[in-house]
């Protein structure tokens, strides 16, 4: 399977159930799309993330009812620095989609999706612990992997691999 260039034109990708659904309900939330290596990514405006997730979960034709994964990527030193990544799976239709939200490095704050999927609890705590992204509305936003009194967020790119000595 040789690589073909990614598709970023919304019109060409309109047939994908997740994108179609988001465009007809909260069109303003969709900032961009990318279809690359058989995977669809949708870039979502920061303020709409919980709403977009709830809409996709409750879609009657193709419900993306399962949160596969939630993680983050640090693009230090460029801005917006953080990209929070949501991988959704539709168990009935076996479809996947990736949502992305970009956050500034100065105050990385985003709304929690624990009210949509309780399973987001651990994932969001992990991202908070290792990247320092804060999730508003999270029931128990405490460190998960590192000790409570740890300084810094280890998966940030400006954190040395060997740690501070």
């Amino acid at each position: 399977m040789p690589l073909s260039p990614p598709i970023t034109d919304i019109e060409q990708l309109r047939s994908h159930p997740a994108l179609a659904r988001l465009l007809e309900t909260v069109g303003a939330a969709v900032q961009g799309v990318k279809f690359d290596r058989e995977e669809l990514s949708i870039l979502i405006e920061k303020g709409f993330v919980r709403e977009a997730c709830a809409i996709l979960r409750d879609d009657s034709d193709c419900p993306f009812n399962y949160l596969s994964d939630l993680t983050c990527v640090d693009w230090y030193p460029s801005e917006p620095r953080f990209e929070v990544i949501y991988h959704l799976l539709s168990i009935p239709k076996k479809e996947r989609v990736r949502l992305k939200v970009r956050l500034d490095g100065s105050s990385p704050v985003i709304e929690s999706v624990t009210s949509v999927w309780p399973s987001a609890n651990f994932y969001e705590r992990e991202v908070f612990d290792l990247f320092g992204v804060r999730f508003t509305g999270h029931p128990n936003l405490k460190r998960l992997m590192m000790p409570d009194d740890w300084e810094g967020h280890p998966l940030r790119k400006d954190y040395p691999v060997e740690g501070y000595r």
């Binding site: 690589l3 690359d36 995977e39 009812n65 596969s68 994964d69 991988h87 168990i91 590192m146 280890p154």
Partner: protein, 400 residues
């Protein structure tokens, strides 16, 4: 990881007791700490505390070449190292757009199913032992030993195999390997009968498992359960069938589903999976194609030792891969694989250099662990042991 003994800030009701189970409790299968709020023997609330085995593998990956990450993946879910290897290799191969020869794909399926049997045997043995059945443990580990010998035959290692490489396999399987696996596969269904004879009709085992640790399908999805935990609650999903990878579309197998959602349902699903897996092993042995086990991509795949010693280009490529790695076109990929415990996903981001920009592992145990509270609340302390065993957690996979 909490730095002080964890408690609940606010007890649910007055007169309850906070009890810490673990991190050194033998039934937690590793260093898992469960904080329980109990009223007598009844659990009011359960909260898992994790992080005791956190090694920062995701951070380490960012400092290694792509091919150097493969041995790290063994150490995440140490009961199914080959499944981890496979997920990572598939993700990077997808990033590279690399085609894998058929023999390598079939070998991957064969080894992957042996890994599933290996992992389920450890689960069955320890789960039964937690519930008081010692004999099953000895039988399971007897068969597991055979599988570990197969791993040793192909890779030289019993547990940390690193047998799958980006672009194919590390080596051809040795002479006599397929005959030995065939012998094992012919005998194994009889062994499963033996385990089932000890457990499936055993009244003590049934009392400890039926109606215990129940979870409904809606709760299982909302809390992110996967694999046998989800199938035990009646959700029909198996990534091998629904999103085939590595040539799984060529194999025939059934996906066992149970609807009760209790510990026994998850037990029944896994035991049936043992039988299905050995069926896949038989099919893979019968139809094993001939040909190379490495992709024809000299810039990515290490050359054979013989070629390296006799051909100049092979030596140069070998030197380049070892010293500089190989660059991967920019992009991102999420590859999900059905591991013995459920959906194992690797999210790999490339920025075009020879080192991965970000590797994130989505562990199935991590997802399943969140269902534990729902399973145990309102039940007895002894049932926690059964429930923890039934979701089959591996702490290396959770803490990474």
């Amino acid at each position: 990881m909490p730095s002080s003994p964890p408690t609940f800030a606010q007890p649910e009701r007055a007169g309850t007791l906070t009890l810490n189970m673990g991190p050194q409790h033998p039934s937690t299968h590793g260093v898992l700490r469960l904080v329980l709020e109990i009223d007598g023997e009844t659990i009011i609330r359960l909260r898992p505390e994790i992080g005791y085995l956190h090694t920062g593998i995701e951070k380490t990956c960012e400092a290694k070449f792509y091919q150097q990450v493969v041995p790290l993946t063994d150490r995440i879910d140490y009961l199914c190292p080959l499944t981890n290897n496979l997920t990572y290799c598939l993700a990077v191969e997808k990033l590279l757009g690399l085609e894998i020869p058929p023999k390598a794909q079939w070998m991957r399926v064969l080894m992957n199913e042996l890994t599933r049997i290996n992992s389920h045997l450890v689960w069955l043995g320890t789960h039964a032992m937690d519930l008081g059945a010692m004999t099953v443990f000895l039988y399971c580990f007897r068969e597991r030993e055979d599988i570990l010998r197969f791993f040793e035959m192909v890779s030289g290692q019993r547990m940390m195999t690193s047998y799958f490489r980006i672009g194919g396999l590390a080596l051809e399987p040795p002479l006599g390997f397929f005959e030995k696996v065939k012998k094992f596969a012919d005998r194994f269904p009889g062994n499963v009968d033996e385990y089932e004879g000890l457990l499936t009709g055993n009244p003590i085992f049934l009392m400890r498992t039926k109606g215990v640790g129940q979870i409904s399908a809606e709760d299982a999805i909302a809390l992110g359960a996967c694999g046998p935990t989800l199938r035990g609650s009646g959700i029909d999903i198996d990534l091998r069938r629904d999103a085939p990878y590595s040539g799984y579309e060529n194999f025939e197998f059934k996906v066992p589903i149970r609807t009760e959602g209790d510990v026994f349902a998850r037990y029944a699903c896994r035991v049936q999976e043992l039988r299905e897996s050995i069926g896949i092993v038989q099919q893979a042995l019968a139809g094993m194609p001939e040909g190379p086990v490495k992709a024809d991509a000299p810039k990515v795949v290490l050359p054979d030792r013989e070629k390296m010693k006799t051909q100049m280009e092979a030596l140069i490529y070998h030197f380049k891969i070892i010293t500089e790695g190989f660059s991967v076109p920019p992009g991102e990929v999420y590859q999900a694989v059905e591991s013995p415990r459920g959906e194992m996903g690797y999210y790999v981001v490339s920025d075009g250099t020879a080192k991965p920009y970000r590797v994130h592992m989505r562990g199935p145990s991590y997802a399943n662990l969140q269902t534990l509270g729902k399973m145990c609340e309102g039940h007895l302390i002894a049932d926690v042991i059964a429930a923890v065993g039934s979701i089959d957690v591996v702490l290396g996979d959770i803490d990474r």
